[in-house]
């Protein structure tokens, strides 16, 4: 069980707005998150990952406090075991496909499985600059899964994939994440693509 109750000021074009979320997520569940641009969806994911610090509130995962403003607890991102798929991928230009995964894990069998899942096994020695947009996006997803995260945070993870690839990948991801028992939060501007997968939704105003 993940319990998040946070407040964070957001910079907006028209003055300031405050992001307020109070929500629980069951372990192993998948939640789709949507809402207008600038409503704080990405910030919310970053708060969970420890990349952004809220002004108030707490983030509690099972019995462990990841963040608590009153108790001054703030676990660094390294200790939170989240997988984060960045909207702009944030791939490492100096690393090949394989090196991206090897940087995150030493589990060779897991790397092989991920490469097959993302259909990147034939492109292992390529660097991001020599991958298509869809291949880059798949690599970003695989890299985030490499650490077998407890919470999987995806920011518009399927935007560059064609319909067929998206359907196949989502089916594979569902199996894999269920196996890991990972709790998944997906920001999507096209929430219908997650019908049949997501068991909950969070709408940002």
């Amino acid at each position: 069980m993940i319990h998040i109750a946070v407040e964070k000021k957001l910079k907006a074009y028209h003055g300031q707005q405050v992001l307020r979320v109070n929500r629980q997520f069951a372990a192993g569940s998948t939640t789709k998150i949507y809402g207008p641009s600038g409503s704080g969806k990405t910030t919310f994911l970053k708060i969970i990952a420890g990349l952004v610090t809220p002004e108030k509130g707490m983030v509690k995962v099972d019995a462990v406090s990841w963040f608590n403003a009153d108790a001054r607890i703030n676990l660094p991102p390294q200790k939170r075991n989240t997988g984060f798929v960045f909207q702009q991928y944030a791939l490492f230009p100096n690393m090949t496909v394989r090196q991206h995964l090897e940087y995150a894990t030493t589990d060779e069998a897991w790397i092989k499985r991920l490469l097959l899942l993302g259909k990147l096994d034939t492109l292992q020695e390529h660097k991001p600059d020599y991958l298509s947009g869809g291949q880059q996006q798949r690599l970003a997803i695989l890299r985030a899964l490499a650490t077998k995260p407890q919470i999987f945070l995806m920011d518009e993870p399927f935007s560059a994939l064609d319909a067929k690839m998206k359907t196949e990948l989502i089916a594979e991801l569902q199996i894999l994440l269920k196996e890991l028992g990972t709790t998944t939060l997906i920001v999507s501007h096209n929430p219908q693509e997650l019908d049949g997968w997501a068991d909950g939704e969070l709408v940002f105003e």
């Binding site: 997988g83 944030a90 090949t96 940087y103 890299r143 985030a144 650490t147």
Partner: protein, 223 residues
């Protein structure tokens, strides 16, 4: 022709570049992260050698390290180390004089990398040092090389600072730029020309090397 000023110059530039790579990179990294008044002041101080006349810098270094008083006296008394009119003094002065050439380009390059690169690395459980070593540094390689070559070339061209703190001792502190000045004073234009040509050739080749490397980097498909 006495080539010792050329060798001394190359040795000085090499050691200075090496020290600045070791000290300057972590320093540039620190400066590239966040902004505070303290960092602004530190950055201003290390930028001073860019705008100050080298003789001013050399003068203060001479005062600071003079074995008659202050820090220089303490170093002399406690460690029996003298910086004035010695090669190690030249190294110290060169490191201070060239620090902006190493720190400036590396800092800007680090700041231009998307912050998501480091963030992605952190979420993979990697420490700040691992992130710096395996993600950030490799992705600023062209700027790193440019900074190292600029530092090297700038040290080759030092004159005022070196003359102030090192003087003109053959084989110890007489670097090529001082040998040129010395030769001109003695109206030995042939000798001045020899040293000058060698310095010109070395720096020209270095700069060409950087251009070629950076072009190759941009085009390389896999490496």
């Amino acid at each position: 022709m006495d080539l010792s000023p050329i060798w001394l110059t190359l040795k000085l530039a090499g050691i200075t570049t090496l020290i600045l790579l070791l000290v300057g990179l972590p320093f540039a990294w620190w400066l590239s992260r966040g902004r505070s008044l303290f960092k602004i002041i530190i950055e201003a101080i290390i930028t001073m050698p860019l705008v100050l006349p080298p003789s001013v810098l050399g003068f203060y270094l001479l005062l600071a390290f003079s074995p008659q008083h202050g820090m220089g006296k303490w170093l002399q008394d406690v460690f029996n180390v003298q910086f004035v009119f010695s090669f190690r003094g030249l190294v110290l002065a060169s490191v201070i004089y060239s620090i902006p050439f190493m720190v400036g380009p590396v800092k800007s390059a680090l700041q231009q990398l998307p912050s998501a690169l480091a963030e992605a690395s952190y979420t993979l459980g990697k420490s700040e040092w691992q992130t710096f070593r395996y993600v950030l540094l490799p992705n600023i390689k062209p700027s790193l090389l440019t900074a190292a070559v600029l530092t090297f070339a700038h040290t080759l061209g030092e004159f005022g600072v070196v003359l102030m703190i090192g003087g003109n001792i053959p084989g110890v502190t007489r670097v090529a730029s001082i040998a040129v000045y010395d030769a001109v004073e003695q109206r030995d234009y042939g000798m001045a020309n020899n040293y000058s040509l060698i310095l010109f050739a070395i720096t020209f080749v270095l700069v060409i090397g950087v251009f070629v490397f950076n072009k190759y980097q941009a085009k390389s498909p896999l490496i």
